[in-house]
C-alpha cells in the first residue's frame, strides 16, 4: 500500500461519508482471512460508492478483499496481503423479481435465505443451495461457485446466472449478459466471473434464472455398505428416473448428519408434481430393495433436515475439506479407494453427489495435508478429474497451491488477471497459481 492507513481512512470517509469505515479490533478480527485481519473495513452504501472506494484503493495500491457473508473465506490460498475488506452488506436489495419471466436481479450482498424468502412469496426459488444460507450472500455464492445439492436437476451456478454487474479493480463499472434466459450478444463475461473468487472485479448485482417451488418433495434414504450404495446408485442412474439429487455418504459422513453410526447411506431427492414424486419414491424404493437395502422415505422436516446437513457438510471450523470432481463412472472407484484403511491412514468423511461427480472428503485437523492432498490429486487425475483443497486450518495452508497443479492455460489466466486487475490488488494470491 502506498500512503498511510490514516490517509486511506480519511479519503474513504471523505468520499463515502463518515460511518462508512470501521477499524475497531473486533470487527477487524471478524473479517480475517486465513488468520490475516485487514487494517480497515469499508462498507459502501451502493455500487457507486463501491466504485469510488475501489478507485481510491487502486490509486493507493491497497490489497482489497470483497466480503460477502464470510462463509466461503476458507476457500483459496492465504492472501499475499490484506489491507481493506470491502463489505457488501449494504448492497442487499432484490432489485427486480420478474416472476412471470422466472428471473430475478439481486444485489450482491443479499443473503441467500432472505432472497429465498422474497422469492418464496411468488412460489419461486433460486435453485442454488450454499452452506449457511442465513449468512451466505449472492455475490459470494457466485464468486466461490457454490452450487450445493440439486445440481443434477437445475445445473450449477454458471448455468443459472444470466447477467451481472461488476466493478473492475480501477473502479470502472461494467455489465455482462442481461435479463433474458437466452442471449448471445457479445462475450459471456459472466462465465469468467463465476468462480473467479473476486480476483477480476467485484460483483455488485446478479440476474438469475428462477425455478418454481415444486408441489411436492421427498427423499428415499437407504443404508448399507458403501459398496451396496454404489451398486444401487449405478442402477438408478441407468434408469429413466429423474431424481433432483443423489448423494452417497460414507459411515463417517452419515454419522455427521446425526442420523446413524457405522453405516453408509444413499439419499435421493425427488421433487415435482405429486404423482411424479410418488412414482419416483415407488420405483426407487423397489430398486433399493432389489439390491437388499431397506429404504425409508423422508418427507417434510426430516427430508429438509437431512439435506441441510448434506448442504453444510464440511462447514465446521478447522477441518480439512477436499473437493474431487471426477467423471460419473469414477465416483465409485474414488469412494472405494477412499474407504480403504491403508489409503490415507486418517478417518475420512466422504460425501458424493453421484449425478455430477462431485465428491467432498473431510479429515480432522490432525491429518496433515502434505501427505493427503497429493494422493487425492493423483487419485482424481487418474480418472481425468481434479481436486481442490476447499478449506484447511490457516497454519497448514500456504505450503502448496490449494487449487492443485496449474494447468497449461495458466498463462492465459495470468494475462486475464493482468488485464482486469493490473496492480494485482483484488484478493491477491488467493486464486489458482497465486493469481
Amino acid at each position: 500500500m502506498h500512503g498511510s492507513l490514516d490517509n486511506l481512512c480519511a479519503r474513504l470517509e471523505q468520499v463515502l461519508g463518515a460511518g462508512s469505515v470501521r477499524r475497531d479490533p473486533l470487527s477487524l478480527k471478524e473479517h480475517s482471512v486465513d488468520g490475516q485481519a485487514p487494517s480497515l473495513i469499508c462498507v459502501p452504501a451502493d455500487a457507486e460508492q463501491l466504485g469510488a472506494a475501489l478507485r481510491i484503493a487502486s490509486e493507493m495500491e491497497v490489497a482489497v478483499i470483497p466480503w460477502g457473508g464470510g462463509t466461503s473465506m476458507r476457500l483459496g490460498n492465504p492472501p499475499r496481503a490484506f489491507d481493506l475488506a470491502l463489505a457488501l452488506e449494504r448492497l442487499n436489495r432484490v432489485v427486480e423479481h420478474d416472476d412471470v419471466s422466472l428471473t430475478a436481479t439481486v444485489q450482491a450482498g443479499t443473503k441467500i435465505a432472505a432472497l429465498q424468502e422474497t422469492l418464496g412469496r411468488a412460489r419461486q426459488f433460486l435453485a442454488l443451495d450454499p452452506p449457511h444460507p442465513a449468512h451466505a450472500t449472492v455475490g459470494g455464492l457466485v464468486a466461490a461457485n457454490q452450487s450445493g445439492p440439486r445440481r443434477m436437476a437445475y445445473g450449477g451456478v454458471r448455468d443459472q446466472v444470466i447477467g451481472m454487474k461488476m466493478i473492475l479493480a480501477d473502479g470502472t463499472p461494467i455489465k455482462a449478459g442481461g435479463k433474458v434466459v437466452k442471449n448471445v450478444a457479445g462475450y459471456d463475461l459472466c462465465k469468467l466471473f463465476v468462480g473467479a473468487l473476486g480476483t477480476l472485479g467485484i460483483i455488485t448485482e446478479v440476474t438469475f434464472k428462477m425455478a418454481p417451488i415444486p408441489e411436492s418433495a421427498a427423499t428415499v434414504l437407504a443404508q448399507g455398505s458403501v459398496g451396496e450404495c454404489l451398486g444401487f446408485v449405478s442402477e438408478l442412474l441407468r434408469s429413466r428416473l429423474l431424481p433432483a439429487e443423489v448423494a452417497i455418504l460414507n459411515a463417517d459422513a452419515f454419522e455427521a448428519t446425526g442420523m446413524a453410526t457405522d453405516t453408509a447411506a444413499v439419499a435421493i431427492w425427488t421433487e415435482g408434481f405429486t404423482e411424479g414424486v410418488e412414482r419416483h419414491l415407488r420405483d426407487i424404493g423397489r430398486m433399493a430393495q432389489g439390491v437388499g437395502m431397506a429404504p425409508e422415505i423422508l418427507r417434510d422436516r426430516p427430508h429438509q433436515h437431512l439435506w441441510e446437513k448434506i448442504r453444510d457438510f464440511g462447514a465446521g471450523e478447522n477441518l480439512f475439506v477436499y473437493r474431487l470432481t471426477v467423471p460419473l463412472a469414477a465416483v465409485a472407484r474414488v469412494l472405494m479407494t477412499a474407504e480403504r484403511k491403508d489409503f490415507l491412514a486418517a478417518p475420512l468423511a466422504a460425501l458424493a453427489f453421484a449425478g455430477t461427480g462431485t465428491i467432498r472428503l473431510v479429515t480432522k485437523p490432525d491429518a496433515a495435508p502434505a501427505a493427503i492432498f497429493p494422493k487425492l490429486l493423483s487419485l482424481a487425475n487418474e480418472h481425468g478429474g481434479h481436486a481442490v483443497m476447499e478449506a484447511g486450518p490457516p497454519a497448514l495452508k500456504g505450503a502448496f497451491d490449494v487449487w492443485g497443479p496449474s494447468p497449461s492455460t495458466l498463462s492465459i489466466m495470468r494475462e486475464l488477471k493482468r488485464r482486469f486487475d493490473p496492480r494485482g490488488m483484488l484478493n491477491p494470491g488467493r486464486f489458482l497459481g497465486n493469481l
Partner: protein, 526 residues
Amino acid sequence: MAPVRQPDAGASSAFVQLTETRRFAYAQGRFKFFASGLFSFSARFVKPMSRQDLIDELKEIVGDRYVLSAKEDVIVYEQDASILQAMPEIVALPADVQQVSAVVKAARRSGVPIVPRGSGTGLAGGAVPAEGGIVLSLARLDRILKIDLANRVAVVEPGVINLDITKAVAAQGFFYAPDPSSQAACSIGGNVANNSGGPHTLAYGVTTNHVLGVEVVLSDGEIVWLGAMVPDAPGYDLCGAFVGSEGTLGIVTKVAVRLMAQREAVSTLLAVFDDMDGATRTVVDITAAGIIPAALELMDQLSIEAVERGAPVGYPRDAAAVLLVEIEGVTEHTQRAMNLASALCARNGAREVKKAKDDHERELLWKGRKGAFGALGTITPNYYVQDGVVPRSQLPRIMRTVADIGKRYGLRIANVFHAGDGNLHPNILFDLRHPGELERVIEAGAAILRACVDAGGSITGEHGIGLEKKAYIGLLFNDQDLEAMARLRQSFDPERRLNPAKIFPSPAGCGELRVGPARMPAGLWI
C-alpha cells in the same frame, strides 16, 4: 434472405442459385447500406509475392488439393446463410489439429487474418471473411472420437454435424440436447462458436450448458484444452468464456459434450388460436405455472399460410397462431403437465387443442413447424431472418410491436419462433428486385431489435453478432462493457488475427463486402 428452394432441391438448383447469387453480388456492388458505416472492414490484402509464398506453404501443410485460391473455387466460401458476402483470398482445409496449428502459424507469419468456418449455416455473417485472408474450413475434422456412455460424454471433432452426435447414441437411449433447427447441416464447432440454441433448449439449456471442454488452437498456433472432461476445473472458466466467442478467441479442434439420457415419455400438443395475444399469453401462463416444457414454439398466420401453400399439414388458414407444446419426463409428470398446459390453452381462447397419441402423430404436429422456414419461399422471393429476445412476460406486447413495425415499414413479417425462451424470429419478407426495399427491411429489423432492448431483452438469442449486428451491440453494452470484453479478446488474441471485424463495432475500412440472397442448405428449418 431468400433461399428460393424446396427442401429436396438437388445439385442442379444449387448451381443455379450460385450463379444467381454471383450475378446479384456483381450487380449490387458495394451496397449503399454498408457504406453508410453500419458495417465496416479493412481488407489486408496480402502482397502478391508473399501471397504465392503463403499458398505454397499452406499446400505443404495440408496438401495441394486442400488449398483453394482460384476465384471460382473460393467463391463458395464467400458467404454463410446470411446475406453478407466477401471473397476469401485463400481457403485452407486442414485434416487435423496439427495442420490447423501449422496453418495458423503460417498465417501469423504472413500477417493475414484467419476466419474459421464450419458448415456455413451461420445467420450473422460470422464465417464471412470481411477482412480477407484465409478461410479455415474445419469440415474435414469430422470424426466422433469417443463415446463414453458410462460418463455421458462424447468427444468429437468440430466438423461433426450436430445431428450426427445424437444419431450415434440414440440406439443406446441417449441424445445431445442443443438442437438448432439447422442441426442436419451445422457443425458442432460452429455451435460452440455461436453458443447455439434450438427448440428444445428451453428445458435443457443451450450449447454452453452442454460443453465440458474444448481443445482450441490459439492465435499463435499453440494447442490447449479449455475446461476438462468434468465441470468446475480450477481456475477461470475459460471454456465458458470461449463458448459464444464466434471464432475470435481460438479455433475449436475438439469438443467434449455432455450426453443426456432420453426421457421416458414425450407428449406434444398443438393449439390453434384466433389471435396472437391468446397464444403469447398462453406461453407466459405455462412458464409462470411452473411447467418447463421441453419446447414451446409459436407460428403466426403468415407462416401458417406459407406452410399450407408449400407443404400442407392441415393448419386452419384463418388461424392467427399455432402453438406447439412438448413436455418430456416420466409419464406421470408429462400427463399432469399436459393437462395443465391444455387447460391454459383453453383458458386463453384456443380454438382447438390436438394432442399427439403416438410418435407418428407427434411428427405430424411438428411437421408444419419444421416446414415453415422452407415454405416461406412460396409467399415471398426473399426474406431476412431476425433474432431478438425479450423477457417472457413481454411476449404479448412485443408481438404487437413487431406487427406495428411491419405496418409502419409496409413490410410483411412472418414469425416462427422459440416462444418459451422469449426468443423471436421475425422473418421480414421482401423482394430484392424492388429498389429500396432491402434498406427498409434493414431499418425494420433494427426497429425490432430496439424494441427488444427497450423491453429488457437482447439483440440476439442464438444467431450471434457476427458482422450483421456489430453496429447494434451498443444498444446493449456501453464502451466500458465492450472494453472489458476486449480485455478478454486481448488475453487470447492480442493481434486480433482470428475472425477480425466481428462482434465489436469497428471503424470503417476499405474491404469489399456485398450483399446477396442467402444460400441456405436444403432441408433446414428455423
